[in-house]
């Protein structure tokens, strides 16, 4: 009895001391997050979804202008600018002392060896899915889930994804209660300095998000690699009576140019007041925060309209 008791006691002591020795370390892992450098904005979003403020973000000044970004939080955390997204400053990245670098293939594959020398590097496909029919929303969610597994925050990722699902379902419900049947929409960008328009395909991220709001995409064109088709204004005539969501940036773009044309006033969706002009503040290509800001904004507009 006593020996057993002593053994039990010793085992207990051992286990206790071990757990005592290990516990703070596990706690440490949860409290001190990895230092993440995001070379494309979506991955800064993903890190934020998991409760991590990146130590470095490329094109930081522009990122801070996003509707989904709380400027003060990032400024308080001392996030640093890493230079352009295309050729980020390797020196700035080293100075940020990252544990993990997140980039995209089409921009950063060329410097992958250099980035890997600095720290562990993950490169994603982003929206460049070629002409394939891969769902860009699923891709974004997958990227977040994998990122969560990688840094041991799967639960946070699951929560964030669940949060997005819930958010989208709620907005979709609000829209459905107002409109009843699904609205037909087109999502477009008006690039600056030219007269063309980019219409987004059914598999692109913004349109997939709008689809989750219960809206139906009315544009069936081929993807040019990043999920949109570039068309001349003549093609707008073929769209019919849809709700047209267009992003126009700056003072000279194809929207400011087209809007002067009497034909524009004659377009069905302009005549029936179903044209919505957006700015790039509501950027639909990011992670979950951007997606929520974007869909929230669209819902508000459609509920008012």
């Amino acid at each position: 009895m006593t020996t057993f008791g002593r053994r039990q006691f010793l085992a207990g002591l051992c286990a206790g001391s071990c757990s005592y020795a290990l516990a703070p370390r596990r706690l440490m892992a949860e409290t001190s997050p990895p230092r993440v450098v995001a070379l494309e904005w979506r991955y800064a979003d993903n890190a934020r979804s998991l409760g991590i403020i990146p130590v470095g973000i490329a094109d930081l000044a522009e990122y801070l202008k996003q509707a989904s970004v709380d400027r003060k939080v990032l400024e308080a955390a001392g996030t640093m600018d890493m230079g352009r997204r295309q050729e980020p400053s390797l020196e700035a990245i080293i100075a940020a002392k990252p544990d993990l670098i997140l980039g995209v293939k089409f921009r950063h594959e060329r410097i992958q060896p250099q980035l890997s020398q600095i720290s562990e590097t993950v490169l994603y496909n982003y929206t460049q899915t070629g002409n394939g029919k891969s769902d860009q929303l699923e891709l974004m969610i997958d990227e977040l889930r994998q990122f969560g597994e990688k840094i041991g925050r799967s639960d946070a990722a699951k929560n964030a994804i669940g949060g997005l699902d819930g958010f989208l379902a709620k907005q979709a419900g609000r829209l459905a209660s107002k409109y009843g049947k699904p609205q037909r929409i087109v999502f477009a960008q008006f690039p600056g300095g030219v007269n063309n328009v980019r219409l987004f395909t059914s598999h692109s991220l913004p349109v997939r998000l709008l689809d989750r709001l219960g809206l139906e995409n009315a544009w069936e064109g081929p993807s040019e690699g990043f999920g949109f088709t570039t068309v001349g204004p003549e093609r707008l005539l073929t769209l019919g009576d849809v709700t047209f969501l267009g992003v126009a940036v700056g003072s000279d773009n194809s929207y400011t140019r087209l809007a002067k044309n009497p034909l524009w006033q004659g377009l069905p969706f302009v005549r029936s007041g179903k044209f919505v002009a957006l700015t790039d503040v509501d950027w639909p290509f990011g992670g979950i925060p951007a997606a929520q800001a974007f869909t929230g904004k669209i819902t508000e507009i459609l509920l008012q309209g």
């Binding site: 997204r85 400053s89 020196e91 030219v194 063309n196 194809s254």
Partner: protein, 674 residues
């Protein structure tokens, strides 16, 4: 009798040609207006002045399609007329708006308006392209010495202005990715219109200018006889050339405003007519305008038809496809017929400012200083103590890593600059023109084009494939230029003209390629501008091996370069095998430049500046210039790279853009001197 019958024949041939031009142009215009719309001729005609409100086809015709058709017509007419004028005024069949810097100037101003808000206050959007074109054209003209300048000089100056403006525009696009994206879209050319204002504005600008050119048609004919003959016939050369160049710049700026940089029409249209045997300008001008219209409208028709089913192609692409074979044909006929006068590199007669010893001390100091500055500056300024800790190997890890990469880039820049300096020296020696350099005779651009093509079409060959492609491209360009230009009876400057044509073509071809491939704008700009970003130790080894193998070869070659300067006959009577010598110079020069292009991408102006700076420092024989050119080239490149990394840190400007921007004042200075 026989004379009158041949006259009749000629008359019939001309009438047939005019009828054919008019018929084809009108037919294409109709097809363009009606493409994809069920509209009869009468509907189209009715829709010109007003829209049929209840008819969707009529609405579309009036508000979108017909403005586009008019834009296509005017773009073709303006460019063809401008090309005719430039070619007559410079007596150079390869002169065109693209080569004279007008297009790049227009692009720069459009970029400035888009990116710099303050600039938009001075220059309105609608006038940006026109003003940019006029400014760049004006600079080209002033720099080349005004209307008295020879054709080669005007063309080379124009190319230099093009490169500078293009680099500045690309740098702006990189600094602002959002606007940069659309600058790139604009870069491929598009005739899509959103209302009548641009087309009608261009029409108002075109008609009086065209009338004036018709009035001057006879003077243009006389100009083609040569300056001396023209002067004897009582021509006011200054006036005629001034009017021709001024109107040419005006017309090409109009076209650029409408369509973006669509350059080949101006090159192709007048030359097609010349090949068909039309030479009098009173006929050439209207017919060229018709051919230009047919080309542009036809190309845009193709774009329209494609966009209905697949993608919206930049209109510059089909035009470039037609332009390429015509360019090659021209280069051939040019090589056969050119009587271009040779422009010997004016020797700098300044008394030697530095004796040999002090100049070599100066050069070594320059090299070391440039290297140290490059090492110290970057995203964060390093203190001398940190640098010395690094050099002793005692720096902390991350500091060590930063400085190691800086050292790689600085060394890479130095090696590349040295190779470019060497290349420029050899090329200036063989072409005997102070403006000869790898980027002005098309070697750099062709390397870049081949690299892009390999990257897009054969990605499986990886980086080695891209490098091999770039070197093959550079050497291919040299072989083409030399094969066409190195003839016994040709002035060496003919080679420069052929090279210029090649440079203009390959540069726009790679832009078109990059756009069609659907690159993101900043990605494309990065590929089209040379950069030391991400250079690896392996690259440095390639550069170093190339440099140290080629320097002895160049040293050997440069001993006879001065003889080439006496002219071919004298040189060969002195016992020199001129042909072999010239080929060797060209190929080694091209090899140097294309190794650099293979590693960094296109870097311009270093090859141009270094030999001139060497001459300023210590004028002498070519062989004496070798060390100075190489060292100055290295220093220039290190300084440009350092500025690019430091000025807007952490945003980096590629070294290829910095060298072009820094090169501007220097080239202006050299041109004024020469």
């Amino acid at each position: 009798m026989s004379i009158s019958s041949s006259d009749e024949e000629r008359f019939a041939w001309r009438a047939a040609m005019i009828a054919a031009c008019v018929g084809i142009a009108l037919g294409l215009v109709y097809l363009h207006a009606a493409a994809g719309i069920d509209g009869s001729i009468s509907t189209i005609l009715n829709s010109i002045f007003s829209a049929q409100v209840n008819d969707p086809a009529g609405m579309m015709l009036h508000y979108l399609r017909l403005p586009r058709t008019l834009a296509a017509i005017l773009t073709g007419a303006c460019l063809a007329t401008a090309g005719t004028l430039f070619q007559a005024a410079t007596r150079n069949p390869l002169a065109s708006p693209g080569i004279l810097g007008v297009t790049a100037g227009a692009q720069l101003f459009v970029a400035l308006v888009a990116v710099v808000p303050a600039f938009a206050l001075i220059v309105p959007h609608t006038l940006a392209a026109t003003m940019g074109g006029l400014v760049a054209g004006g600079i080209t003209w002033l720099v080349s010495g005004g209307s008295g300048a020879g054709p080669v000089r005007i063309a080379l100056s124009g190319m230099a202005v093009s490169l500078m403006a293009g680099a500045a525009a690309a740098a702006l696009a990189l600094l602002d990715e959002t606007s940069g994206a659309s600058l790139n879209l604009w870069g491929g050319g598009s005739l899509v219109q959103t209302d009548w204002s641009a087309s009608v504005g261009a029409l108002i600008g075109f008609l009086p200018a065209f009338l004036v050119t018709l009035i001057f048609a006879r003077q243009l004919d006389i100009l083609l006889l040569g300056d001396d003959t023209a002067r004897m016939l009582g021509q006011n050369l200054l006036l005629v050339r001034g009017v021709a160049l001024g109107l040419g710049v005006w017309l090409s700026a109009l076209a650029v405003t409408l369509a973006g940089p669509v350059v080949f029409v101006g090159l192709v249209a007048p030359n097609l007519l010349r090949l068909a045997g039309v030479s009098r300008h009173i006929l050439v001008l209207p017919l060229a305008a018709l051919v230009g219209i047919a080309l542009t409208v036809g190309a845009d028709l193709l774009v329209l038809l494609l966009s209905a089913s697949t993608i919206e192609l930049p209109v510059g692409v089909p035009i470039a496809l037609v332009g390429a074979p015509v360019l090659v044909m021209l280069a051939w006929s040019q090589a056969r017929e050119s009587r271009a006068t040779s422009e010997f590199a004016g020797r700098y007669r300044t008394p030697s400012a530095f004796p040999i010893v002090s100049s070599s001390v100066f050069l070594i100091m320059l090299l070391i200083t440039a290297g140290l500055i490059g090492l110290v500056s970057g995203n964060r300024l390093m203190s001398p103590s940190e640098v010395s800790a690094f050099l002793r190997g005692a720096a902390p890890v991350d500091l060590h890593q930063i400085l190691e990469w800086r050292a790689l880039r600085v060394t890479g820049a130095a090696l590349g600059g040295a190779l470019l300096g060497l290349s420029g020296l050899l090329l200036q020696g063989v072409i005997r023109n102070p403006l000869a350099s790898p980027e002005l005779i098309g070697i750099t651009q062709t390397s870049g084009l081949f690299a892009v093509v390999v990257l897009l079409l054969f990605p499986e060959f990886g980086f080695l494939g891209v490098q091999a492609g770039a070197i093959a491209g550079g050497l291919g360009a040299a072989v083409l230029v030399a094969g066409l230009g190195l003839r016994q009876y040709l002035a060496p400057s003919a080679m420069a003209l052929i090279g210029l044509g090649l440079a203009a073509f390959t540069a726009s071809a790679s832009t078109a390629f990059v756009i069609v491939a659907g690159f993101q704008a900043s990605q494309a700009a990065t590929w089209l501008a040379g950069s030391t970003y991400g250079v690896s130790a392996k690259d440095l080894i390639v550069l170093a091996v190339a440099l140290f193998c080629l320097i002895p070869v160049a040293y050997f070659l440069l001993s006879v370069t001065d003889m080439l300067g006496f002219g071919r006959q004298k040189a060969s009577s002195l016992g020199l095998n001129v042909q072999v010598t010239e080929w060797a110079h060209l190929l080694i020069g091209a090899l140097c430049a294309s190794v650099v292009a293979a590693t960094f991408g296109p870097v311009s102006f270093v090859g141009l500046m270094a030999p001139h700076a060497a001459r300023l420092l210590n004028p002498g024989r070519y062989r004496d210039l070798l060390a100075a050119s190489v060292i100055i080239g290295a220093a220039l490149m290190m300084i440009a790279d350092c500025l690019g990394r430091t000025l807007f840190a952490p945003v980096e400007i590629p070294v290829g853009l910095m060298t072009a921007i820094i090169g501007a004042p220097f080239i202006l200075f050299v041109l004024r001197r020469a």
